[in-house]
């Protein structure tokens, strides 16, 4: 098996500042998406991952060249973190041909195969068996690559989750299953959708190695992901990576969240925001942060301009790409 250099175990302070900048870019991008959706400019169903940026950035930073991901309906962060340009992502949300799925996918079907993004999936758990399959292909070909699935806690109750993890462990394929445990399946709290309190226990049923990490601490996510990837890549089998994270906004843009305690949500925003946490840890001054903010805001504004000036597909383009 060819050797692949694992990413290093920890990040330097300047690298962590870049991580902070990337998380802030995703945050500002999604806030802009919320704003443009409310302004009536964006069609479709949109789900933001505000509060969960550390998981996307921490995991994707740890990936090696050639590693692939499958994402969920809450995919903007994963997509940006895996390397898609904000212009191409925003253009997709506007339904333009310059978009990363050329206008055929939308927010819930973001693809960027060139960057190893095999697609966001609008069926909860839908991508998991295919990640097992991609990892199987890597194993059969002796390629030192890892396939990574993102999914939420709601997905741990669907059949594809159980079947895919069972098969992956049985065949010891190089896969990492990243559970973004934000404690909500749409509007249903974990206490109403899972009979067990610690979803890491799910992995035990398959005899799968399991690691748990605070998903609001991006440095910890990176380190844990790196270890999980190393384990999978070395042929020891898949890893269940349980990321304990926080969804600060609703299930979809416009969700009034009648099911959620407002005080609790406010407290989470004040105490568990991964961007604030990293900013404090790195002792980033107000001035430096504002500079960083201005820089990413400009990128986001430019992406909106790019998208608005993009090309509308011809209606009859709908007939293309049905078959290879």
């Amino acid at each position: 098996m060819a050797k692949v250099e694992e990413k290093k175990a920890s990040l330097r302070k300047d690298e962590l500042k870049d991580v902070l900048r990337e998380m802030l870019l995703i945050r500002r991008f999604e806030e802009k998406v919320e704003e443009r959706f409310r302004a009536g400019e964006l069609p479709g169903f949109l789900h933001v991952a505000i509060g969960q940026e550390a998981c996307a950035v921490g995991v994707c930073r740890a990936l090696g060249d050639g590693d692939v991901i499958a994402s969920t309906h809450r995919a903007h962060g994963h997509t940006l973190a895996k390397g898609t340009h904000p212009n191409e992502l925003m253009a997709e949300l506007y339904g333009k041909t310059e978009g990363c799925s050329h206008g055929y996918g939308g927010s819930m079907h973001l693809y960027d195969v060139q960057h190893g993004n095999l697609g966001a999936n609008a069926v909860v758990g839908g991508g998991l068996p295919q990640i097992t399959g991609a990892a199987l292909a890597f194993q059969l070909r002796g390629e030192p690559r890892v396939a990574v699935a993102f999914f939420g806690d709601g997905a741990t109750s669907i059949g594809t989750f159980h079947e895919a993890l069972n098969l992956a462990q049985l065949w010891k394929v190089p896969a990492v299953f990243v559970l973004e445990d934000n404690k909500w399946a749409e509007s249903t709290p974990e206490s109403q959708h899972s009979p067990i309190r610690d979803l890491s226990d799910r992995a035990k049923a398959f005899g799968m190695k399991s690691v748990k990490v605070d998903g609001q601490d991006v440095e910890a996510v990176y380190k844990t992901a790196r270890q999980a990837l190393e384990h999978a890549r070395s042929g020891k089998g898949p890893v269940f990576m349980h990321v304990d994270c926080v969804r600060l906004h609703g299930h979809y843009i416009g969700d009034p969240q009648v099911y959620r305690n407002k005080d609790e949500a406010r407290e989470l925003a004040e105490t568990r925001d991964p961007i604030t946490l990293l900013r404090t840890k790195l002792e980033v001054s107000d001035e430096e942060f504002e500079e960083m903010d201005a820089e990413v805001t400009e990128i986001v504004e430019a992406s909106v301009e790019f998208a608005k000036n993009g090309t509308d597909p011809a209606p009859e383009d709908a007939l293309k790409n049905v078959y290879a």
Partner: protein
């Protein structure tokens, strides 16, 4: 020309593809030591080993999905879904994932995967082991659908399906595994979307699939004794459909019967009838007749099962109805 059974013809296509191409592998429930529930993959484990002849758990969603995932990475997996009825379990991955990846990605992805499955009544398996569900899958854009009825066709079509860059649902009929037929020495790929005229005739065209191709050929022989000349055409690929060949035949004979084992109502034959009436309306001398199963789940008791599914006589009666109609 060697003679192969339909079962051996499937195995031969799989084996030859695997011999020449490392990217082809098979996976499914009980396909290794046991050789599959119908013995199709018997002996393949010994030749190709457990890496490429992969027994899976009873996990239709995972095995279908894993095949899709490997296909997106450029492999050419053939997943066996043990019984056609269990395609309903794999349907999420086939319908929502395999069929749509290329489209949703705007053309970035190809999914060269084959889902082989088998079904069919006649052995009294009851309601959950013998359904014919091709109509479910021909309705999904992005899938190709094949239903072969002879050893030669099943071999040539499976070969083409393996090397097609789209997901293909490949139906086999259980009662045909034992039938024998001559096949070319070397595999001759049969292009998807090409119908086969099994028998030429002048008075009526019978368009049939699967087991009903054979029932229709017998019906044609019976009809001939009455002086009725019957053409029997097997579309072989249901999606894409060789409309041109079917319409050409009906324009020649002016009468059509569409026959399949699946339930008649809302069946694949309804679409064929629609194509024919629209494209050959002025040529038709009689309403298009449809032959299929009655609108019930498949019963267990043999007498009931035989009553529900169509046979030679059902095709023959349909032929008579078309020719006896006054112009």
């Amino acid at each position: 020309m060697p003679e192969l059974s339909y079962r051996e013809a499937v195995r031969d296509a799989l084996s030859q593809a695997m011999r020449q191409d490392e990217d082809v592998f098979i996976m499914g429930e009980d396909i290794a030591e046991m050789g599959g529930s119908m013995g199709v993959t018997h002996g393949m484990l010994e030749e190709f080993g457990p890496e490429r002849v992969r027994n899976t758990p009873i996990s239709e969603m995972a095995l279908a999905g894993a095949a899709i995932g490997a296909a997106v990475q450029g492999m050419r997996p053939v997943a066996e879904i043990m019984y056609e009825d269990f395609m309903t379990l794999a349907a999420e991955q086939i319908v929502n994932q395999a069929a749509k990846h290329r489209y949703m990605s705007g053309g970035q992805v190809s999914v060269p995967v084959v889902f082989r499955t088998q079904g069919g009544a006649g052995w009294s398996p009851g309601a959950q082991h013998a359904q014919q569900l091709e109509a479910w899958f021909v309705h999904v854009p992005g899938l190709k659908v094949v239903f072969a009825s002879t050893p030669e066709d099943v071999r040539g079509l499976l070969w083409s399906s393996i090397y097609d860059d789209n997901p293909v649902v490949f139906f086999e009929h259980r009662t045909l595994y034992g039938i024998k037929g001559n096949v070319p020495e070397e595999i001759e790929p049969i292009p998807l979307g090409k119908a086969r005229v099994h028998r030429e005739g002048e008075d009526v065209t019978v368009i049939a699939t699967g087991r009903l191709v054979h029932e229709s050929l017998k019906a044609a022989e019976e009809a001939e004794k009455e002086g009725i000349s019957v053409e029997v055409v097997d579309p072989r690929t249901l999606q894409p459909l060789d409309e041109e060949a079917l319409v050409a035949s009906v324009k020649k004979t002016n009468r059509a019967v569409v026959a399949h084992e699946a339930v008649t109502r809302m069946g694949f034959g309804a679409e064929v009838a629609s194509v024919l009436q629209y494209q050959a309306f002025d040529w038709l001398d009689a309403p298009i007749e449809r032959v299929g199963a009655k609108f019930t789940p498949l019963p267990f008791a043999p007498a009931m099962e035989q009553f529900v599914i169509p046979h030679v006589d059902d095709v023959l009666q349909a032929i008579y109805r078309t020719v006896n109609r006054k112009n």
